[in-house]
Symmetry: none
Subunit: 197 residues, 4 copies
DNA sequence: GATGAATGAGCATTCATTCAT
DNA sequence: AATGAATGAATGCTCATTCAT
């Protein structure tokens, strides 16, 4: 047993259940349909209890944003078949993740989009979402540099621009809800573009 | 005199000003912040007058969706320098449009995203937005086929998949707000991927 | 028919009935117990209707303050037996008023005290109440000067100080709820103090 | 060692700090703004602890009323220059007290007024405040009788009525917030009225 | 004695919608 | 065609109070 798994503070447990309830509510009806009362009911607590843990609706939404960020770190698609190239493996993991989010975690995608839209008007949300996206893009850029170095990716790629293409394409694919078999074709084209010859 | 320029019905004029007001309100505060009273006030009419033209808030939002679709048809970036290839010109026009929407028409982008999210929960909106996206994708696919035929684009491109990559990348670029100079790099990479050799 | 009596605007009528209801509620339970819902119910309108006329509770309280000021101008005790002296008649009228407010209009007194207390924390209320008190004091000072000039009041009275004594004593009598027969004795003493010899 | 100075029970100490916090809260925002949570926070205890000492908000207010009564007994303005007359000294002390409360202890005045208003609706408060006022009036009446007997005050004064005038005037002066130099003029007029010749 | 957690009841205010005029 | 007035049903939030620990 380690500190992360033992005795979850009952108070933290309640916070978490409220955040989960809010997350589900946003996934179902968007921010437009988010009602503190519904969230409290879904978490089976009194509305006053919700406000005991989250003094305002804004604070609750902030909690949802943090939860979302944690989910993107924790949840991933199945690992790809090893290819012998670190960069290619990373790219395939990315493909796997996108497909996984698209097919198994569509709630995560919807809430992410809602939060991205909200981040434009709410600095507190932007402070959580922007670093998340930045981290994603950074990882992809690093992957591209590694792939070029390995000689697996085309040498004439511009790593920042290529990372932008990937984040934009993945993000767009999730937004547009491109699912199988379309997704497979997209991945093939992306790989053809990145790979040497 | 043709149908487009002759005397705009004063009733249509009012509908349009209400829809514009609603569009601006959504761009500013999202659906979450859309209030019929604010829309009426912005259009300088009584709230009851708004309901005379749009019996429900839903109907007003439907009007906004149609207005948005019309805007995407009407508004475009500056035409590119002719390249001698129809397909390449079309691609460059697409690049010009994306840059134009991103930099000059961010309201259009925001409202589009809001409507895409809403379309998941509202069939009436989906009935307007989905054909719009389908038409866009269809045009891109046709462009790719033409480019292959012209010998300008790579012959091994899978037209539907490549069209999906383009729509996804453009959509993602608009969502993420990738602006100059990043956008230029994205276009360069996309062109390198599509072009022969 | 004159402008004051003919056709009371039905909208003004509703405002008035809401203010009256609020006045009665304050008289009964103080500001502490003032509930917009109770006021609306007492005026037999929906709570939303109350907010149509008074956007905030503060605005409603402001309306009550203005109503109170108007009541003090409109309502008076029975006129005293003419004494031959203008100043003395005015003093007797003042006595009559105090007794009248104390015995017949205790609601007016209670609400006045509540508003005086609130004026200390609310500038909008102070802007209505302070001039009312100032006007009262000013009238009394003028009366004292007239009485001195007539030779009815003591010549060595300091008009401003004497006016302060009168306003303070009247105000205190209303606050403490000194009623008959005590009130009569107070008036006798005040008159003995003011009158020559 | 006497009962008043020896070891203040720590429990009494906490009650006192809660009452003081409530007193300050009422002085600042009136009963309307009195919140048990704010009082507890100001006294730096948990809200549940407040309810341990004062089972209800009413009980806490009762404690404030008793504290207020004790303050009026304990706090006084500076003693006046001895005049040779016990009654006159007492009157001057009264003047000194009024000025002191008005200028140095305005919180005491505000809370007193709040409690007087509340006493009209709350018998428990009336049971504390009324005797306080009665005692004050009684002392003034006694002073007037003494002054008449000493030959310092006018012989034709009606002691109960004169005591009422004094309590009313003092109370009114505090309510209206008549401060220097106006207060001095009021005292001069009152003395001129009371004194022989 | 003291407190963190919890809640029922309620509060001012809002909102889309309706309707008589 | 247009509007002032009106409203039922919420909505986010608050508050005094309780209770297990």
């Amino acid at each position: 047993m380690n500190a992360q798994t033992e005795k979850p503070n009952p108070s933290d447990e309640r916070r978490r259940s409220l955040v989960c309830a809010a997350f589900e509510a946003i996934a179902a009806d968007g921010f437009e349909g988010l009602r503190t009362r519904s969230v409290a009911a879904r978490a089976e607590v009194n509305i006053a209890t919700l406000h005991y843990y989250f003094p305002t609706k804004e604070a609750l939404i902030g909690g949802v944003a943090q939860y979302l960020a944690a989910q993107f770190v924790a949840l991933h698609g199945p690992p790809p078949v090893p290819s012998g190239s670190v960069a290619l493996d990373r790219l395939h993991q990315e493909f796997s993740d996108v497909q996984f989010y698209c097919e198994q975690q569509s709630d995560l995608v919807v809430v992410m989009l809602e939060l991205q839209l909200r981040a434009r008007r709410d600095e507190a949300i932007a402070a959580i979402i922007d670093p998340l996206m930045g981290h994603w893009r950074g990882g992809l850029e690093q992957m591209i540099r590694a792939g070029i170095e390995e000689g697996v990716f085309r040498a004439d790629l511009d790593p920042p621009a290529a990372a932008s293409v990937l984040t934009a394409t993945f993000s767009g694919a999730l937004t547009l809800g491109i699912s199988e078999p379309g997704l497979e074709g997209v991945f093939v084209e992306l790989e053809r573009w990145l790979l040497r010859q």
